[in-house]
Amino acid sequence: MFLFDTLSLIFVALILLGTIPNLFYSFGYLSHIERKRHYLLHYFTFIFSMLGVVTAGNALVFLFFWEVMSLTSWQLILTEVEDKETIKAARFYFIMTHFGFVFLLLFFLIATDGNIDMHFVDMQGIVALFPYPTLLFFMLVFGFLSKAGAVPFHVWLPYAHPAAPSPVSALMSGVMLKVALYGFARFLFDVLYPWPLEWGIVILVIGSISSLVGVLYALSEHDIKALLANHSIENIGIILIGFGMGMIFDSLHLETLSTFAFIAAFFHIFNHMSFKSLLFMGAGSVLHQTHTKNIEHYGGLIKSMPLTAFTFLLASISISALPPSNGFLSEWMIFQSMLGSYNISDTSLKLAIPFAIFALAMTGGLAIACFVKAYGISFLGLHRSDNAKHAHEVNFLMKTGMVLMALVVMSLMLFTPFYIGWFDKMLISLHHVSVYDKMFPDGFWHMHSVAVHGGVVSPLILLASLLGVTLLLVFAYKVLDVKKRVYHTWGCGYKTTAKTQYSATGFAGPIRRFFNWLYKSDEHFHKEKIMEHETKFSDAHYEVHVKPLFETSLYVNSKKLINLVSYWVYRLAHFEQTRYAAMIFNLMLLVLFSYRIFFHAFSWATFVLESIVMIISIKVLIIGDKK
């Protein structure tokens, strides 16, 4: 029934690390929630179902807990039903998660041959006989990556995460997405092994696109929780890049590099859990105090909420992959594994990898821009609204939750070798070679890359030297004993007010303009001109909306198509009897004509003639006149 191997236990550890700080935070947040019983019931069931998913030993138990996880998180999104948007978001989430569920069910029905309470290990024998393993692979991609939020199944994230209460967003983004990745890893390793080269490339491409798309939409977002949700897409993309590299190396029999890339991916899974949970908690605290999600209405919160501001800064540095944070270390490992593409003998593949490197590096640069925006606009400067003015630090339990999560982030940074030892053991249990000794040949100070010309990073030395130099500088400053005077900001002789600061829209302006081919932004600019002067106005209002490309092209258009089909089905169901008779007549004609075409001589002339007869008869008899 249940399975407790290393892969499962590592994800149990992930869930525990993600939920324990969250419990404190959640109890602190509880006063903000009206339907407490409903919330608590679903909250705890959600946590237990996630634990159930990662320890499930057969398909039936797995699917049961998977579905419980989906349903409870769906109910948790609906905790605060205040506006229609929340209901819409919840419905969207419900549909997307069951879209994935259908594929999982199909996968299990094929892989277990109908005997659904079979152990995962026994499924490999059945799958080995199945003639189309790529079909199964795509079922996994559809099933799990739609839950994990990879492009093009990412569209629900920016709706569902902001709608949920903040502790739940932290859990959903930090932990639930990782549970989906657990499923993906579990069935790839246990059931579908060995992988063809193309699968790895597919995952690499999905990862690269997800990371870029996620960060670009995050930049244009002004709802802080939607911004963070978009960053989840980005980070899932980064994880998938590592995963894809691991798969590619594995199918090319570069075992050490493969293990290294997988360790990088799993390390980033942990890192993303830690900093994204922390960011969502920080966003939740800010939201709790200011009652708005729009970052244009924040500003100056560092003065009233110092602890939140500090933990948010820590998480921002980590998610921007700046050294010596844990986010940097995992991204460094992914870069290093891509550097290992030097060993690939296939030139075209070798030439393709730099494009993934480009995507990852670009993502890193844009993530820095995005978090300077998120942090600078929310926490620095002057208060941009009355809500921000009245904010103060959150209650003790919420602070405890944030501090505990900050400790998790710090522990991932300080005890990197320890965590990597775990992942290494896990990959050994999944029949990969061990690289721990190659990565840490001389103790825990230096982390080596296993790529041929690879580099070395020493997180602890970096941290110590950065802290040391900074403290030395601060000390020198104190010794100098500089006289300090407080004065107002220089604003060309004008007063500095909340309105004269840069806004989040303005901050992202250059990047939005450069990527306008993707954003297709909708600008609304309105000003009350004085005496018809272009440059003199009493009041101005500027708003810009970005069109989500994937949503409009994939989802809205497929919705339109379904609508069209259902309209015709509806028309069909409401025909008069004469029409049905006409249809039967036409069907008979079709059968006769096809019989002649397929079983007797074929000639274009008669084919065209018969087609014309069919079309005319359908048009006249069935469709009739337009009303």
Partner: protein, 306 residues
């Protein structure tokens, strides 16, 4: 070890001189009466003795960010390739780490710009964020390509390897990487054509806009940071792309190295005199060239092996 420390101290002392040298050379080329090349030191000592004025809108970020802008760059100074053969060098720090440290410094600089609630600071931060986001991929790709030619990703080791064995057989890709890196040097240090360090006009400011509200010691720290950053980039360029003169005796080797740094500064000055600053939205074209050259370098290395 003594050589290692000496080199770092010399480079640190040299940092303000290089920027002042560019400035006075530019003035001389434009038939103006040049300022002294020691102006950088004069500014530094003047700023140290001044009082600091801090805006009342600022927070703890302004108090600590200047130190955090400078310290990653100072740490990077310790990781540069050796100047003299046989000198100690830190072999274990790789180019991704150095890129990251420079980004960390920029990150705090951008926060500093947003902290004073002034429109200029936000403008500078926004532009800097835009430029550095586009610099990042070019940087990583160039580093990737150079590391393959040098046979090591560690910056110190790469410098040593290139000096010991100049990659004549990979001249084409080496040259492409060099061009790309030089464009990055201009972009990261806010030189013309990306940013004009001498102007205080809001249309053109990038770096200056972020630090408009700083005075006294804080300004001295930031100015030092920008000169240290230039030295880091110049010496990386010199050790990775002009790796000669490394084997000479210690004083001569250091002298040759410094001469090369001045050579880079001279090229930058001549370029600045002869080009106009690009509009902000034309900057991506320049950085796009850097990215394309980095790709070209990788592709020629892989496909032609040249």
């Amino acid at each position: 070890m003594i050589l290692y420390i000496t080199t770092i101290v010399v480079l640190l002392l040299l940092a303000p001189l290089l920027l002042s040298f560019i400035k006075s050379l530019k003035m001389w080329l434009l038939f103006k009466r040049p300022t002294s090349i020691f102006q950088g030191y004069r500014n530094f000592s003047k700023l140290l003795s001044k009082e600091t004025i801090v805006s009342e809108e600022t927070s703890a970020i302004t108090t600590y960010a200047p130190f955090l802008v400078l310290s990653p760059l100072l740490v990077t100074m310790f990781f540069l390739p050796p100047v003299v053969q046989g000198a100690f060098y830190v072999s274990f720090v790789d180019a991704f780490t150095i890129t990251g440290l420079i980004s960390l410094s920029t990150f705090f600089l951008m926060l500093l710009g947003l902290d004073s609630a002034s429109a200029f600071g936000g403008m500078g931060s926004s532009r800097e964020a835009f430029i550095s986001a586009l610099v990042e991929p070019a940087m990583v790709l160039t580093v990737f390509s150079v590391s393959m030619m040098a046979g090591d990703l560690g910056v110190g080791q790469a410098g040593v390897n290139l000096a010991a064995h100049f990659p004549k057989e990979h001249m084409a890709s080496f040259l492409f990487a060099g061009i790309s890196f030089f464009i990055l040097l201009l972009a990261e240090n806010g030189r013309i054509p990306v940013d004009n360090p001498e102007t205080h006009l809001e249309l053109t400011m990038v770096h200056e806009a972020m630090i408009l509200d700083l005075t006294g010691v804080y300004l001295a720290i930031i100015e030092t940071a920008s000169s240290v950053k230039f030295v880091i980039f110049a010496s990386l360029f010199v050790s990775l792309f002009l790796p000669f003169g490394y084997t000479y005796a210690a004083p001569l080797a250091i002298f040759v190295f410094i001469a090369k740094l001045f050579g880079v500064a001279m090229v930058v000055a001549i370029l600045e005199v002869n080009t106009a600053k690009l509009r902000l939205f034309k900057v991506p074209n320049l950085l796009g060239i850097a990215i394309v050259f980095a790709f070209l370098s990788l592709i020629t290395f892989y496909v032609l092996g040249a």
